[in-house]
Symmetry: C2
Subunit: 505 residues, 2 copies
């Protein structure tokens, strides 16, 4: 994982060609599954529940803040009811677009409007590859993923802990993970939102790596976190603590209900979206009450269970519709929107890909601004797969190419070129082809377009088998982005100190 010397690099296979790191804008109108009346009906139903039924906040501090802002609190059961005036006024303070800054100034990202950002899978406890199959994650796997995420230019950001290093002490694991991430990646990063101390550590380390004060990073946020609602209608204490710490320091939060239709939300998609909306708006309103104007993202994760078994299913047609509808709902409130690249498959196979494609198309044509878990997610999010990471990188690159606006000009219309080639002839030798051929079309990362015989003679590898070779090839060629040795030292000292403190607890 260390930076390779030149000599060593030469001995390795070359880094595969990839599309350059670039910010993406969706030039197409979103697909809309709801008409205006249906959108209003979802809004009205959400307001009814927010006003009359309420959402549980398991934090005394949060309840007090909400009470002081005018919410009605039922102390017996921690239920918070907010009238629509309070909700809508609060969320109106959230910016419709904001920038997240990376330690590499070139790699800032824009969240909102028609921008779209991809990040890596975050959170799985298991890891899998073709060599060793599926097993619990460890710190070595974690580091390999971190290097892959840095190397894959299609990923704008690091989506969190790609796989949990279960071999590290849970009390201090986050310190090791953050240190490794921010020294090996120069992109914007996701940090855990579970608890005030972990968030505070992340903010301190962000300050160190950026050589800025807490006041300075407040106006130039660089990290984002996911605040899950423990659906239905419950925000747990540690999540609320993490949320408050993040927004008080101007860092971005994605409020993401886990509305699994048929289990944690109603057995209708419309009902699940109402509940998602209730929970997301409650969380965003709370964030804005704590810190008006802080960057928030409307997170959507509505999918459904397999009604035969109760098992969660992702990348279903319902998931696609929910992605599109959620985008409409987020835009209704002027909020940036997050969705995910999900699938249910246990292995990086055809199912993983067709479910992912349903997720990707729903997300991208729903104008998701943050596509979370965009690369590497498998098995309903329980596993991070090395091969799926490469397959996803190819799929994301293809979507990026698809999002490039179509060019119609006198030159591209090619009337002269068409007129010059005789019927039944070919265009290989035309001046236009010779001028354009290098950059004319999308060039793949993983796809093999050779004919059957050539492909067969060279080993007849499936895309998943080629992905296995590619991720190792990319890791062989990993180059650590420059970090000032003093900064690195400062980070190490911080981590050591904090580890000692945690051990003394």
């Amino acid at each position: 994982m260390a930076r390779k010397s030149r000599g060593k690099q030469r001995a390795r296979s070359a880094f595969p060609s990839q599309q350059p790191w670039q910010r993406l804008v969706n030039p197409y109108s979103p697909i809309e599954v709801l008409d205006e009346e249906e959108l209003n009906a979802i809004h009205e139903a959400s307001m009814e529940i927010l006003e009359n039924v309420g959402v549980e906040f398991l934090s005394e501090r949060a309840l007090t803040i909400l009470e002081n802002s005018g919410a009605i609190i039922d102390r017996d059961n921690n239920l918070v009811r907010m009238d629509r005036g309070l909700v809508l006024e609060s969320i109106s303070n959230a910016p419709s677009q904001f920038t997240l800054h990376a330690r590499n100034p070139q790699r800032y990202v824009l969240i909102g409007d028609n921008h779209i950002c991809f990040d890596s899978v975050g959170g799985p406890a298991y890891v899998s590859d073709l060599d060793q199959g599926r097993r619990a994650g460890n710190f070595n796997d974690f580091r390999k993923f971190i290097c892959l995420i840095q190397s894959l230019d299609v990923l704008h950001m690091c989506g969190g802990i790609p796989v949990v290093p279960v071999d590290l002490d849970p009390a201090t694991r986050h310190l090791d993970c953050i240190y490794t991430t921010i020294t090996h990646i120069d992109k914007v990063w996701h940090t855990t939102g579970l608890g005030r101390q972990r968030m505070s550590d992340a903010i301190d380390m962000l300050c160190i790596v950026r050589n800025q004060t807490r006041d300075e990073i407040k106006t130039e946020p660089g990290i984002f976190t996911t605040i899950n609602c423990n659906s239905p209608r419950r925000f747990d204490g540690p999540m609320l603590d993490g949320l408050m710490e993040a927004v008080e320091h101007g860092q971005a939060v994605t409020i993401t209900p886990f509305t699994l239709s048929g289990a944690m939300s109603p057995t209708t998609l419309a009902g699940s979206l109402v509940q998602q909306n209730v929970e997301a708006l409650a969380g965003i309103a709370f964030a804005q009450i704590v810190s008006p104007g802080s960057p928030c993202i409307y997170g959507a994760f509505t999918s459904n269970v397999d009604m035969k078994s109760g098992a969660p299913a992702f990348g279903t047609p319902e998931y696609t519709q929910a992605c599109l509808a959620s985008g409409q709902i987020a835009r209704y409130y002027g909020m940036p929107y997050r969705s995910s690249n999900t699938n249910t498959s246990n292995v990086a196979d055809a199912q993983a890909v067709y479910e992912s494609s349903m997720s990707l198309w729903g997300s991208i044509m729903g104008h998701s601004n943050l596509l979370h878990h965009a690369a590497g997610w498998l098995e309903g999010g329980l596993t991070a797969s090395f091969e799926k990471t490469i397959i996803d990188a190819e799929m994301l690159q293809m979507m990026g190419a698809f999002l490039k606006p179509f060019k119609v000009t006198n030159d591209t219309l090619s009337v002269e070129t068409i007129s010059q080639v005789e019927p039944g002839g070919h265009f290989f030798g035309t001046k236009q082809t010779l001028d354009l051929y290098e950059e004319a079309f999308y060039s793949p990362l993983l796809s093999d377009w050779r004919n059957f015989e050539t492909w067969s003679d060279s080993g007849a590898q499936t895309a998943t088998e080629r992905a296995n070779i590619l991720w190792k090839n990319i890791l062989d060629n990993y180059e650590q982005p420059h970090i000032d040795p003093a900064t690195d030292e400062h980070l190490r000292v911080f981590v050591d100190r904090r580890k000692k403190e945690e051990r003394q607890h």
Copy 2:
């Protein structure tokens, strides 16, 4: 392949559950990659070429018909130039929507407007499955595909010869294929457009199986064919003969240029679409001159080559954009629109699926009315794959479920249900869940949603491996649709007579 006795059926595995055969309508607005000005520019460039440069028609009869209609013919090089008045007036006679009738009256299909139909792969010379790999197709493989196509309810129609039976005499192969198809399938079917005699045989056999005269089937078309332009700008003689025979008998033709950007068309997508449009409009105008009002489909097949090797590539981001743009162009002229479910992969793997998904989404959100090669296509169309057929069937079923309109009603909004479930609880036991659980969500054909341990314990099969089991299972359960023995006999007599005639040639 024969109809199974009851006893035999019991001994076999059950037919897997699938979504019922149903006509599909796309409820969403199409994705548009071209604005009005760009669309007009493509139209103008096309008219310029049709008027001033021309298209080659390699048929004396076609040239005479075109000359008589007012086109300008250059007899030295068979080039036909048509002014825009002639082109637009001719194509205005084509119906914007029409019905194709099947021998099973329930299985008619609507082509045009927002309807979308799926058919099977047509034309490959090779066949592949996990058991025997990829090899030349034979009549046994052909028959197996025919039974699969009948059994898979997601396929509205049979897309032609799914794999060429190279073990049959090429001179009479079409007779065996048509006989097998129409006796084993009760859906609308595609027949080869190559040559007048083959088309005439198909029409005769359509009359026999429907027990109708040539005059009667003329107003109730039941077959469709693909007329490829030998791009650039050439219609070959046999294709024109087939076209004339089809439209003179009121059967449907899909005029499909093979505009492979960088090889058979310009190295820009806009230029390739101009050329596609020139060729499609020339063919459609000719069809309408021959038989005004006959059903025609605007066929689009614009993809691009790999500029490094010159090899064709399918399911690329450019292909997706071309599908969307072609839909806009077809609608500009009020024509039904055909595209294809393509990919370049040599095997039914992740690449085959992500390329297919790019094709599917471009086609469906481009409002394709006929998705040709929708199931089974592999290797740029050279191979028909049994496993890919099943994977595609699942993907098509999922798209079908995605196309079901979203339901927002007081009931589905579920305010009461949400209010009744306590925070942190679950919805498994609610009345709503119990009422809805059987039909609530999409139920898959191929996807395995079991958890890793269960999946692993039962063999850890990939989706492609499961597809291998499924297609055999489906074939085991194939039931031939009823055909009147006299009709069957009539068909046999016809085929025998025609075979003798061909042998005497």
